[in-house]
Symmetry: C2
Subunit: 179 residues, 2 copies
C-alpha cells in the first residue's frame, strides 16, 4: 500500500499513537488503513453416503479437488456465503446443517468456516471456477489430490464424526510447517 | 475509495468481467480492491460463578458494558485474538474453553466470534479502552446497559447453556430491525 485510497496522498507505515502495531497511515488526511483477516466460507455437501467435490479451474491448485468455498462478501451472513459459493462453484442447492470446522490459517490471515450440508436434489455441474464436480463416497475421496491441507483436515474430521454418529463443531489452527 | 492504493490512479466502481458484483477497480493498473467482512474476536471470561465485563471508554457505546472483544489482526489465530483483546481491554489472562457464539452482523459486515473462557487468576483492571472492569454474577449483569445486542444475545445463550449443564457452539445472524 503506497497511496491513500481516500485522498491519494502517500502512506507511511508506522505505529499510530496509542496503538502497538504498524499500520498504513495517510501523511495528508491521517486516515489509518487497517488490514484484517478474511473469511473463507463453504460447506461439505452430502448426498446419501457421498460428498460433492469440485476440481479447481483456477489457481491456486488448479486441477485439484476441494469443497465449494470462497471469500465471504460484504453484507452477507456466513450461511448465505456458504450457499452462494456452492451455487457458484458446483451449481448445487444445499441446506446447511450446522458449522463443522473453523480453521484459522494465520500465515495467510484466512479463517475457513465450513458447514455440514446436504444437497436438496442430486443436481450439480461445474461453475466457471470448476473443471468438474463429482460425488465421492469415503473410499473414493481423492485424498492425495485435494487442493488444501485445511480441506483434507476438515474431510478427515467429517468422516471421523460420521463414524462416531456425533457431528461436532471443530475449532483449529493450521500452522504451516517450517521447511 | 477514490484512489488506487498501489499506483495512486483513480478508481472506478463497476462489475469486473466474469464477476457479479461491483468492485473498486483501478483505471490505470487494473487492480481490483476487494472488501470483505471483518472478524471481531473475544471471550466470555468466567471466574467462579461470575463473568468479567468491561465498561467502554471509547465510542461506539462509550460508558456501556461489554465482554472483551475486538478486531482480529493479520497473522493471528482466532484464539490469539480473543486472548489478546482480553489482555488489552481488561488486563486479564484467560484460558479459552471452546467457541460459544458466532454471530454474523451483515449490515456492518462483521462476524463476532466469542469463546468461553476462565480467568487464570482473579486479577484484572481496565485497559486503555475501558473505564472499568468488574465481575458480575448472573443476577448482577447490567442487561439494560450492555453495549451491543450481539453481546446481550451471547450472554443470554451462555447462561441458558450453563443452567442446562451443556455448553454448545451457537451460530446465528443478527439482522438489524427495520425502523
Amino acid at each position: 500500500m503506497k497511496y491513500c485510497s481516500i485522498c491519494g496522498a502517500s502512506i507511511r507505515y508506522e505505529i499510530p499513537e496509542g496503538d502497538n502495531r504498524k499500520r498504513h497511515i495517510c501523511i495528508s488526511c491521517g486516515f489509518i488503513h487497517y488490514q484484517n483477516p478474511k473469511i473463507i466460507a463453504g460447506c461439505i455437501p452430502a448426498w446419501e453416503e457421498s460428498i460433492l467435490l469440485c476440481r479447481r479451474a483456477i489457481e491456486p491448485r488448479l486441477g485439484l479437488w476441494t469443497v465449494p468455498a470462497g471469500f465471504m462478501e460484504q453484507g452477507e451472513t456466513l450461511s448465505e456465503a456458504a450457499s452462494r459459493e456452492t451455487w457458484e462453484e458446483a451449481t448445487a442447492e444445499v441446506e446447511l446443517d450446522g458449522v463443522h470446522t473453523i480453521i484459522t490459517i494465520p500465515h495467510i490471515s484466512h479463517v475457513q468456516v465450513l458447514f455440514r450440508a446436504h444437497l436438496k436434489e442430486p443436481k450439480f455441474s461445474p461453475g466457471y471456477e470448476s473443471l468438474e464436480t463429482k460425488l465421492f463416497n469415503e473410499t473414493e475421496i481423492p485424498w492425495n489430490e485435494l487442493a488444501f491441507e485445511t480441506v483434507h483436515r476438515a474431510l478427515h474430521l467429517y468422516f471421523t464424526d460420521k463414524h462416531q454418529g456425533n457431528f461436532k463443531t471443530h475449532i483449529e489452527d493450521y500452522i504451516k510447517p517450517t521447511a
